[in-house]
Symmetry: C2
């Protein structure tokens, strides 16, 4: 992990861009955290924040706002660019799947399982090991430690990470993307506390599938928080509830 830039934000949060191999990312740490030896005894818990496929730069305002809100609660936040997004090399098979999806949506037809699998599964296969490598690097930083949370919008990535990565203790998942059938089976193996956000009137979303996925999760403790407002209109109080979830489980 190489830090490439840093700046101190108005509320004291330290924002540092980094690269992990060829993968760009950003780490936000609260003012209270420090690299000193004392931080080893009171490490700052970390939230992994998976950005949307639109890319880190395009969605910076949204990501930074959430990271600063988390910092106010005493959490560090780290985001890395998803495969094929932002400045990362394009993935030809993914581009093809996206074109097939657009064609299906324009024809107003159903989106086939084949298209969903082609769109999502390779992304999950590539992204999950990258998040695990990022976690290895981040947890080796002085001052970062303790339970780890995951918060993200391509829900299938979060499902697999929650199922296979024991260091992730709690997850906030946003149910607004297509979910391959095989991911439902992986969801049954998830047992950590979950907080699932769903925008009830999200017109691009398969709501029935989102509710079925919530049902499939094996976790004894899971909450579904559904609100109105369309795909991007998550109300402030829903963000607050998700933050309170992380405080309950990671602090």
């Amino acid at each position: 992990m190489h830090f490439t830039s840093e700046r101190r934000l108005a509320d004291g949060v330290l924002e540092r861009d980094f690269t992990l191999g060829e993968i760009p990312g950003t780490l936000w740490t609260p003012e209270s955290a420090s690299a000193s030896a004392s931080a080893a005894f009171a490490p700052t818990p970390l939230i992994l924040l998976s950005p949307p496929p639109l890319g880190l730069r395009k969605t910076y305002p949204r990501l930074a706002a959430r990271a600063r809100h988390s910092a106010a609660g005493g959490f560090a936040t780290a985001a890395i660019e998803l495969p094929g997004c932002g400045d990362r090399p394009r993935r030809p098979a993914a581009e093809q799947a996206l074109a097939d999806l657009r064609r299906a949506l324009e024809a107003d037809g159903p989106v086939s399982d084949e298209i969903i699998d082609a769109l999502i599964l390779p992304l999950v296969d590539e992204a999950v090991p990258e998040w695990q490598a990022a976690l290895d690097a981040l947890q080796s930083l002085p001052g970062i430690g303790g339970p780890v949370g995951y918060s993200g919008g391509v829900i299938s990535i979060g499902v697999r990470l929650a199922a296979v990565e024991p260091r992730v203790s709690a997850a906030v998942l946003f149910a607004g993307s297509f979910v391959p059938r095989s991911i439902f089976e992986e969801a049954r193996r998830v047992t950590i506390p979950l907080h699932v956000l769903l925008q009830w009137d999200d017109e691009g979303n398969d709501r029935r599938a989102a509710l079925d996925l919530f049902d499939a999760f094996g976790s004894k403790e899971k909450t579904l928080n559904a609100n109105m407002g369309g795909h991007t209109g998550v109300p402030q109080h829903a963000g607050d509830a998700a933050a309170q979830f992380f405080t309950r489980h990671l602090k």
Copy 2:
């Protein structure tokens, strides 16, 4: 409205039993509220808390805990006994409907629309005007005023009250009881902010019907907060979220 007894609880909350005609009820007011003239300029907002059909006395611990939690947030809370419950005269048709329901459940068969209608609709027809009369009396008390919230467990009562009573500004509804088909139509006419609690693994509940009812509500602002824990296992954080909902909308 005649007050029949009063006592001051440990946290300063004033608990007063009353009768409204033959209907017993209880009013809890925060320590800060008072009957003095100054209270007319800073009236205490009121939450109507509809008890379960088990009766006020049997469910007192649960009701008092919620009333005291609301009092800590600056709210008065009032509960009245539902028709046919507690010490109130039994309703023969309701007893018949309950017996029919039990028979259907024991036979493991579906519960017919006829049984659901017979069980719920007369209760709603009787209870809603009683809640409105209680609101008339409560709002005439010095110190009580401002927006009114409703929180209750026989969801169909809340649906109709929210649709017909303009003084109710926001409602927390618990989706855990049978809902007649006609109540779905009434739900479309509800437009106030709603916070709906659902126990996802509530085995006695028709979850599909609960989700359809949530979908039917006409409100632009509505939240579904679903958790695990069975019918009576609403987690503390869900109660907190409902309290925060009332603070946002009534204060």
